[in-house]
Symmetry: C2
Subunit: 320 residues, 2 copies
């Protein structure tokens, strides 16, 4: 297939990132938008390859995501899980009946030798998604969470243990042998690229696995397009998920400034939530261009509005 180079490249994890990506897709259509998705939380479960972030992004862009949870499919049923539990199977990770088709078919195709990226692109196409969803790598990377109770596989930490163990660090198993997908590197090298967006995803477990891919950080630094990030921290808390809890456990201040510092050397722009307007001056000392807005994305209009603001900020970075 012939593939155009994107104008906008977004790095994202699951629910929060998917919301912004949905907003972006309403402004930057089709192949002009490339969504690079974290695969560090992919895992083998019940003998199936489960890719939570890819699926959340795919379902969100396809308009079939469960609006209550932000992941899984709307109107999903749980007959499989109930039957599995009655057979003594592991039921701590919910897989809906329709969602299951994705995991079964993906696992079969991976075993048949297809790449995760080809399968992801085909599923997205069949779901009616027109923007490009690209797994960060076709090589397996597994995020491990170091906790005071020992190291846990990511989904064991995240879902089974409900993020309760106190975090002390992270490890991305396999990252040294993983290559960023070639289309990501090509997109970053292309002078037509207008913006790289780091979505308001968890910096530690959604964005860091992408940034840790060999050569990826250098490619971002060399890239002519501005890199802009959106704060995942609003009013001292994370909008969703364990970001704030992790920051506190890692003895990092739970502030947007700490997020900017986390991305040190990468950012030219940063979107701060209006609830944190008071710290704009602090942020401006850390990153050249700062924009203030409503980052909560409670409905589609707000998602699109935030996406517009992000792209406007990237434009300001270029103009400066």
């Amino acid at each position: 297939m012939s593939q155009a180079s994107p104008r906008v490249l977004a790095l994202c994890g699951g629910v929060g990132g998917a919301k912004l990506v949905l907003g972006l897709s309403h402004i930057v259509a089709g192949e002009d938008l490339m969504v690079v998705v974290n695969t560090g939380d992919d895992f083998d479960h019940l003998g199936l390859r489960v890719c939570p972030d890819i699926d959340t992004v795919s379902y969100t862009l396809a308009g079939v995501v469960n609006p209550e949870t932000g992941w899984g499919r709307a109107g999903e049923t749980g007959e499989f899980m109930a039957a599995l539990a009655s057979l003594g199977g592991e039921d701590w990770f919910f897989l809906g009946d329709r969602d299951l088709a994705l995991h079964v078919e993906r696992t079969r195709r991976l075993r048949d030798g297809e790449t995760l990226s080809d399968i992801t692109a085909d599923f997205a196409c069949r779901l009616g998604v027109t923007v490009n969803i690209v797994p960060m790598s076709d090589d397996p990377v597994a995020t491990k969470v170091a906790t005071k109770e020992g190291e846990l596989a990511f989904q064991h930490y995240f879902v089974r243990e409900r993020c309760q163990p106190a975090v002390t660090g992270f490890r991305f198993q396999g990252i040294d042998r993983a290559s960023p997908h070639s289309r990501i590197v090509e997109a970053l090298q292309n002078p037509a690229l207008e913006a790289v967006v780091i979505c308001p995803s968890n910096p530690f477990v959604s964005i860091d696995p992408i940034l840790a891919l060999p050569g990826l950080r250098e490619a971002l630094t060399r890239c002519t397009a501005p890199v802009v990030a959106i704060s995942p921290i609003v009013g001292g808390a994370a909008v969703k998920g364990p970001t704030a809890k992790m920051m506190a456990e890692l003895n990092v201040a739970v502030t947007p400034a700490a997020v900017v510092t986390h991305y040190a050397g990468l950012l030219e722009g940063f979107v701060l939530d209006e609830r944190d307007a008071a710290c704009k001056r602090t942020i401006e000392r850390l990153v050249p261009h700062v924009s203030i807005g409503d980052t909560l994305m409670v409905n589609l209009d707000r998602k699109i509005a935030l996406a517009e603001q992000v792209l406007a900020l990237a434009g300001r970075c270029v103009a400066a």
Copy 2:
């Protein structure tokens, strides 16, 4: 686990066999009944190990079978299959949402090194089944159907092609390297065994794979208990499935006598349907003890009545 030797051992395939086995289970309780199930139509599908006959027998004995089809679960839903079809997956073999749990969990446990017989026993226990369901072998055997259009894997012939191709023969791939399950051989050697029942299943693709296991036919011949069969042919037709069509294509008369001839050297007793009473004399020239009854098993009472008749016939064989 300590396991008592059974009083009755039944050889069976799917729907028809399961009906008689259900009847038997109301007379011969718990470990006194061992059901030896054909695994020749097991196959790998969508990356999952599917064992149609084992599951039909398990669901039937558990009282959760779909009463309309005789296979699958009652009140089953098809969300998985619908989603799979929309992703371009193979949807010619229906797997219901609840049924799917069995295949996913069985596949996972087989990969973890458990035997099919242990997994089958555990699932049966969890489904509330108390009689012993034993796969004919823990070694994989795959029935291949030779047809005028070439050789087909059994489920491709049976489900995908709806038994349309004309049959010329059968092959049981892997049978030379397969051993009958040790519990079957032990049961046949035990003098406490009172009857071996060949259920009214398809002789070619349900019973023959069992009989073709190395040593099994000899063990049956040496066994002190009488071997009795129930005619799967009633009034010149099969009650269900392609038995009659296969017989015709193989130039075998579609008669109970042809079934008895097929089992030549094994039978001491045969149950003929009352609709075929006219051929009782013919059958009596082929097998020592013949009983006439209603073999259609349209409800539980008829299943139990036929089971009683079968065991009474076995008793007559012993008394003679």
